[in-house]
Symmetry: D2
């Protein structure tokens, strides 16, 4: 889970990237970085742990001169949380510099790395992205886009990439198009590429079009050029971007996230109604749109029954005195006036381990709810993601280990309804075909990585 | 604007306070502090700038031994943003130690300070709260509660206070009861006092009752004792706590904030309908409840048209390239799919300077809204608050300088409707009487401070 | 142990103070602070833990406007190492502001504090200096100098003080003159006051004269004015300033520290010769001058047998693997080429606990020294100092608990010779009368404090 | 200019390295780092900017498990002062990990880098050391020592290296032996390798022997094994290690630094006497030994005329008010009592730009010196060093641009005498042959690097 953002064609590009990264902060809060190329071709980098707002002051961003810049926000599991793994990567090679920002996961990274190691290559990080940089440096192609095309031959898995070679910005998506990447243009004519359109909005850029799966787009000051060097494959856009990951004010894969979630909520109300319920509420904020859709379809009134505390940092450590559910309590609180004596529908977008859900249900009951009907606007998650979403191992996934009935008992609800796989895929824009639903269905479009655990701790995103 | 929290009667009290402060973070993000008294009567203090989650690690809180502790979160204008003004205050005096946490503003602090200075007292901070500490130390009374009673004679203005003298925790509210303060009890029998009930919820405490205006409540391990030493005055609870300041999951002044805001929203729809509108949305998050009330009453569908980015820190500095509205854009984004081509009602709880509102309206229009009807769930703010809310000077208050029509033009809306003063007061729990509405009506319950500007930059809250 | 520095009469005074504090860093490395008064009478303060070079950047110092400023470097035992105890103290009182920087210890601070507490005063720190500020604020005198005169009546013990009241800088020494304080003048005519002349040198100031014991000197832009309001007492300059504490390039009490130490070394060679020795060396750097004196007098060649590592910070924590003497080894190393096979004289200025000395002797023997003759350029320390030097309790002072012979065995030397009390006092400039030698002789000029331990952890220096 | 230290064969090796780095701090204060290999073969690294004492806490060092570790202290010019250039380097390759710590400079790094780049290698830093890591990874040899031997073929310039491959520690010096490297053994039998013997002393290790020029020594738990795979070349030990760079308590190249400096001082007194002078003093601390030698030979008394302030950090920024020589004044002060009215000899080990010397002479004159005779215990520096000492460009070297007479006038002395090249080389242990004196004589043992400036800002040391 990462966000990427690039700008080509306007002085102070790093400052535009800085602003764009604010809008991609939800895609990764562990580290952030910016690389800028000045007019003399000098590349400068700033990378920091933590949030964009904590990490960069005006002086730092101001020192990153030039009209070409890319940036990255990174999420990662604790194990590999280190500045060495922060992106963008910046290296020197025979052709000058290469900078790279990656969203996704390569499924044959281990094999590619072994190949490179056998040729004597060295690796400074545990990121799969580093193999891409080596392959770029080794390519004998002249033009940056061709170099990237050559480097990507044989690379499997998910990648939306921003690459800078010399003065050229390259944007590409893997042939299955797992992760989004969109091109925009600012009022002063600079080109922008970003994971989501919300990052175009913040810099007042208008949407030009998506980078297509398998396409390499080059921006070098003379306009957009497109290359499609990779074998076409069946589209596998990540349905979870619509369900949970992207921001509701974004368009991804050409569709509106808000509209997608509204449709998921409406479908959920159709598939799993809750006839005895008196009201519906969301687990804020990611489920707000789905809950609204459920309310619309069901005719039940929408209520604000859970309040989220946004001031909780990543570092919260549960005090021992605070009881089992302190972590949930620090993030959420229930509104007794809304819940007391009521039969309620609680809408969430997904259940992963079930721990938070269980805490929330207890909180909702403690606030007086008479009946709790849980409705989930996606299908049960039964497998890990190898393509860039940080889901845990199968052992920790509650739906991989319990039936829906067992889960209902475990989390303490009166009824539990998941959206069906078909319902989910039929609700999202341009569905039901062309989506990756491996974590729901087990239908993995690639062979699983040979060492999934290493990958999980060593991935670029 | 501050939050206060105290615990008496359980080992590791500081850890309970720490947790409680998370829930009062919305009342102040500038600094946070905890004072704890251990069983040998030793007082320890930790105060930090910034958020609770940034400021305190487990080791710091763990080092604050004892079964009695109080804490404070502080908001302040930039001018007096310094660790010297962080609370709780902790001093030594002839009777041992005094610790004090204050929410509110004293309106005769300058006079009281001059009195003390004339007797030779020295002041280390610019907080009005410091005069209370001096008066406590000078009191010749024996019992802590009597000492506090004596110290409060002649003190004017707003104060909800937690005071520790020796092993006694004291909780008090000024005779007009401007700021809330509620007593709770944890499952293990410890007493808790907090600005809002949401902070009782997080520590699993149940509500016992409010501290009454003019009451001093003492907790010293032998139960609750109450003292009412101050002349009774007419109640002047702050209506803005219901309108904006408190959390919707809290009860303050005995009423539910969520219910209050819902009623304000319904009344707003009655007083200022928007017949041509097709949908209603809120400026998240503080206006969510009011927008829901408006939707209910008006029959218009509620939509999620503005998305708020919660990752923006306090330190955001607007990049020059980013245009006039970058600050608004970093915090909010509009959802085109919701707004495009629509006539919309935008509900906010208040308009202060109008700058943010103007930016939001521009953003909503840029996302395609055909007509924008702004509805405000409180009356126009025409004067500063001298009782603990950080409103700016009259010169900066837009409604003190423009008519509603002029404001509508300035912020760029098709129509603008404020809730009436009566409508506002009749909508809140236990209204319309007994509330302070000075900033709306100019009806100040006390003489204004002789040096309001100094007070504003030198206040305890 | 503290250093104080003040400037009156030149714009950018804080920057001059900043420079001066670098030269007083040896008097205190725990915290440093500067208070400046600008031309509008506004006082600003910056205080930091740690070294001057770590604590203050150009922007911080630059923000301390004005032509009047005082500064302080503070040493302290770990127990009271906190920013609350950093100086200068700055408070507001009826007459505006008072800023104060103190070097020394008040021996009746506890009594004075009780008096003040009984009148209702509050204390924010554990420093004895805080009683002075209260007494200043309570004085009804008009003129700053008279106010200080009044405040000092009845204050016992050691104090060299810099005080700012309004736009007046005051410099004073207690009537016994325990600690040094000297007046200088910069080339542009500003007045400077500092603990030692080395701090005048760094700002290119020439020496005007010492502040006399019991004198108050006022600088207010109209020249120097002098007041001698306190009863004269017999002079008790601290002989340890010459022996160890001041810098050798300073003059204190009107005498040269370098000359004093040279004379101490020569006298030591006369009193305690080492006939069998082949060379002499110092424990660097504080004993360099004394060792040179010893070499001169004895005719033995001076050698550099111990090398000191100046890069060791205050935070060194002894690794467990490193053996008993790691702390000594990190700071010092012996030069085998100098020591191997030789009979040597090791000169140090004093022995406190004996731990370091023991480690050094072991190191010198390990480097091949055949005989080690330890010579100490002061008398045995048999009692604590109540006047501003941080010597430990009697229990930890080796010479209070062992005879010289026992110490020699304990530290492992072939012979041990201390300078006699008379020899020491006769060697320093303007001796032998008028010095405090309480820690050597037990002849305390004042009654010991009623609670010496509290004082030790609660002192201003 | 760097220091390197390695340990093999004792649990907690990182803690031994940590201690050793304290003793090598004078060789580099910009950054410090430690790599440790635990018993499972996992490599861990900690690298920090700044001093060893600031950079590493007990927890950090404690987390670096294992009985094999290497460390590095680095000096660098401001241009390349970044954590990316801190050492040891740690990378993964087909054979596991490679860690490397380098003291010296490769003169054909640019050519070697181009070769590697042409094969597609990427570079993450600007250090010449990175080419060594690439060459190690590319070597097809099996055994670590053979791998290193292969990697070093064709590498020109100065390198003392510690390399870890798998569980083997390798220590090597280039065939000309520019930089020192010595092997020691701790009381518990672990092997240690360090730049200087002072770092053996601190860990109680005894000297085993030097690593010989062109030798690779392997430590793998089965004792020491030696390999001499490189063509023998004429010895070119850096004479400046004796003159200035090493610590006086160290032995380097088998000789005592203290003895070398004493001999340099004696020879200086013979070559350049100062018949009219009354005393001699050193510029502390690096010239102390030479001044003592001068005093011995000349019969003039040694005095302590300059006092050095060791509390000045690297960050001192000259206040504008402080005059031209503030930087010198913050570091040094003169003792008037020693200098006043005297004709003096000031001994320093070298003059680079002349700026500091000029300031010192002015200070000495201001303290009353009647005549100042400057004596320098090395020959004039007329060229840059390409082998690991950070001398500036020829344009900035005063002796490359002025005659001795001109320099005397420029720095303001009555006479100036440098030691002759022959005198210098005949004074150091095992001289006069086999030393590099290129910066004094222009006799560079290798072709100068093709891009000396890049090297200077991009070097490993």
């Amino acid at each position: 889970m990462c966000g990427i953002f690039g700008v080509q064609g306007v002085p102070g590009a790093a400052s535009i990237v800085h602003l764009g990264l604010y809008s991609l902060q939800h895609r990764g809060q562990e580290s952030a970085g910016i690389v800028a190329i000045d007019d003399d071709g000098t590349a400068r980098v700033a990378r920091k742990m933590g949030l964009v707002s904590d990490g960069f002051d005006g002086a730092t961003v101001g020192s990153l001169d030039g009209s070409l810049a890319i940036g990255h926000t990174r999420y990662s599991t604790a194990g590999s949380s280190t500045i060495d793994n922060a992106q963008p990567v910046l290296v020197r090679f025979r052709g000058g510099h290469i900078a790279l920002a990656h969203n996704g996961n390569l499924t044959n990274a281990t094999e590619l790395r072994h190949e490179l190691e056998n040729e004597g290559s060295i690796f400074s990080s545990t990121m799969d992205s580093e193999v891409l940089v080596h392959r770029l440096a080794k390519s004998s192609a002249e033009a940056p886009a061709t170099k990237l095309a050559e480097a990507l031959q044989g690379v499997e898995g998910a990648y939306s990439l921003l690459v800078v070679i010399g003065n050229t910005l390259l944007a590409t998506r893997d042939p299955r198009g797992w992760r989004p990447l969109v091109i925009g243009r600012t009022p002063d004519g600079a080109y922008v590429a970003a994971s989501e359109t919300c990052a175009l909005d913040i810099v007042s850029a208008s949407v030009v079009r998506e980078v297509e799966p398998g396409e390499i787009v080059a921006f070098d000051g003379t306009g957009i050029r497109s290359l499609k060097p990779l074998d076409r494959k069946e589209s596998r856009r990540c349905v979870f971007e619509y369900v949970y990951f992207s921001r509701p004010d974004s368009r991804v894969f050409g569709g509106s996230v808000d509209r997608a979630r509204r449709a998921l909520g409406r479908r959920l109300a159709t598939e799993c109604p809750a006839p005895s319920a008196e009201l519906v509420f969301s687990v804020p904020d990611s489920s707000n749109s789905a809950a609204l859709g459920f309310a619309e379809q069901s005719g039940l009134p929408l209520e604000l029954a859970l309040i989220r505390n946004h001031y909780v940092g990543r570092t919260f450590i549960q005090p021992t005195q605070a009881g089992r559910d302190a972590k949930v309590k620090v993030k959420y609180n229930a509104v007794r006036e809304v819940l007391d004596g009521k039969s309620v529908v609680m809408v969430d977008d997904s259940i992963v381990r079930g721990t938070t859900t269980r805490g929330l249900v207890a909180m909702v009951r403690a606030a007086g709810a008479r009946e709790v009907h849980m409705r989930v606007s996606s299908a049960p998650i039964t497998g890990p993601c190898y393509y860039g979403i940080d889901t845990p191992n199968r052992e920790e996934l509650i739906a991989a280990n319990m039936t829906t009935e067992q889960i209902a008992v475990h989390i303490g609800v009166d009824s539990l309804g998941y959206l069906s796989l078909d319902g989910m895929l039929e609700s999202v824009p341009d569905g039901p075909r062309g989506f990756c639903h491996a974590c729901f269905s087990g239908d993995y479009p690639t062979p699983p990585p040979t060492d999934p655990d290493k990958l999980r701790f060593g991935c670029g995103c």
